[in-house]
Amino acid sequence: MFYRETGQFKTNYADDMAVFPILQDRIGIGLILAVAFVLIPLTGSNFLLSSVMIPFLVFSLASIGLNILTGYTGLISLGTGAFMGVGAYACYKLTTLFPEVNIVVWIVMSGFVSALVGVLFGLPSLRIKGFYLAVATLAAQFFLQWCFTRIPWLYNYNTSGAIEVGQRTLFGIDVTGAKASLEARYMVLLTLVTVLTWVASNLMHGRIGRSFMAVRDMDIAAELMGIDLLKTKLLAFAVSSYYAGVAGAAMMFLWYGGGEANDAFNINQSFLILFMVIIGGLGSLIGSFFGAAFISMLPTVLKFGLPALGIPLAGATAEHLTYILVGALIIFFLIVEPHGLARLWQIGKQKLRMWPFPY
């Protein structure tokens, strides 16, 4: 009744091709952005910012990256964690070498280094398909992870062997380092995510997105229509790794505030992001957000939610139970809706359009 496009006529193609052609959707997006940009930083608690919102945003960015590769182009990658690492180390090197350039610039630029590395490891994708490619990307994961720990130049010969995030400012406000406030870090991250999501949406709605999906759905037909498979796949690797790289840099500089590669960018991280993409919905940007929210918040919810329900948990047992529950939930969600949360969202919208009538 409230969610209907009746009466909203499109008189030109530009309107019809808009990302959100329905007025109610545009209002909804406006509201979400208002809450994210104004309400949360003003009223949100430290817990909300540090344990919920910041991890959620970082993972959203990484899952958008992987979704472009796996969901839109159909190339499975198990090396996202490593590509995030490339971004983090690139950002670290760049900001140490050129401390006078603003950190936010370097976070954005570090993605390009990651994109370059992504293209390199994407080269086999022309000859290798499906799970064979997935295993091939494990080569990237383990090789890069090895580089992170064995090449001291990357971590500036720190004795800790880890990235140490220095103090950097934007417009005179600390955004990284120990003194940076959660709000400042959150706002920088949110802006990055918003802009990059908009760019991803633009790309996926145009020629490039269509050629990605063409390669995914029927690569032979795409090739016979003049879509160059190698170029398209490499572009997908580049764009995807760019997003992963920025996510990695943001993770180190805006969330962790420093850390070691083997913890942050290991194979489990790659798997986790693949979960987000699948649970959220392959080939859907909004699904990436759903998946990131679901997987990144699940441990927190279980940790605080179960005791609240009267199920007391001791440290180690809680961790084991979390594993069991995560495993069970993954299977459950795959069975209920293999197309992910994004599909549920679509069905919900469809129902809303009909409401109050059943059909």
Partner: protein, 263 residues
């Protein structure tokens, strides 16, 4: 252009003594024929005669071991499929090869990929040149949608469409490439009479309205004989006969191949 003038017209594509084999299996042996500009050329033959392989050779998906292919005066022995597409060869497939996850509109739009040139930067912003280009091509695609009478399914994911409509969308996608040579691989397979009539009408309209040269594979002899200007018959990878429908119908070899020979 009258049908008679086409018959004597210039050659658009010539296949010259092409042979193709997979390992020890010979798919095509020493086949030569040509396709003239503006004509509808049919390739017929029993199952496994090498018809689809022939189309695959023409648009560069298979590389023949021997022989040459001349398209628009350029002679080659092998080429990449994307190059063939860029030179103006489009095709449809025996088993519908649409992009299942995309809408009808996006499928046909993807046929315009080769004609779209706006750079990556503008693509990121989806404004300015990128958007202008998008709208320009959308208009072209809408013409095709009107032509094929598929307005109602514009935004439906093609995976959900019935088979007959999918075939139509696939034709639309090929037309979006504005090809000089259109290869149709069994465009009417699995259709009922009504759908066949529709498809025949579209093929004739494409040929007469846009002047597109068409090469088609089809098993329905009635359709083939009605539509095509000239027919080439393949059997076991060899050329059996070549000529106008009437000539082919009267050819003893063809009759033997289709009806069997009394031994």
């Amino acid at each position: 252009m009258t049908r008679e003038s086409i018959q004597k017209g210039e050659v658009l594509l010539a296949v010259d003594q092409v042979s193709l084999s997979f390992g020890g299996v010979k798919a095509i042996t020493d086949v030569s024929f040509d396709i003239r500009k503006g004509e509808i050329r049919a390739i017929i033959g029993p199952n496994g005669a090498g018809k689809t392989s022939m189309l695959n050779v023409i648009n560069g998906f298979y590389h023949p071991q021997q022989g040459k292919i001349t398209f628009k005066g350029q002679t080659r022995s092998k080429m990449r499929p994307s190059v063939a597409a860029a030179q103006g060869i489009a095709r449809t497939f025996q088993n519908v090869a649409l992009f299942k996850g995309m809408s009808t509109l996006d499928n046909i739009m993807s046929g315009r990929t080769l004609k779209m040139h706006s750079n990556f930067f503008w693509q990121c912003l989806r404004h300015g040149p990128a958007m202008d280009e998008e709208i320009r091509h959308r208009e072209f695609v809408e013409d095709i949608i009107d032509f094929l009478e598929i307005q109602a399914i514009r935004k439906v994911p093609v995976g959900k469409l019935p088979y007959g409509l999918q075939k139509r969308v696939e034709l639309g996608r090929a037309l979006a490439m504005e090809p000089d040579l259109l290869l149709l691989d069994e465009p009417m397979a699995g259709m009922n009479l009504e759908e066949k009539e529709d498809m025949s009408r579209f093929i004739i309209d494409v040929n007469t309205q846009y002047g597109t040269t068409i090469a088609l594979i089809e098993h329905d002899m009635g359709v083939v004989m009605d539509l095509s200007d000239r027919v080439v018959v393949l059997e076991y990878g060899r050329k059996l006969a070549d000529g106008t429908p009437d000539e082919v119908k009267a050819d003893q070899n063809v009759i033997d191949a289709y009806l069997g020979v009394a031994h």
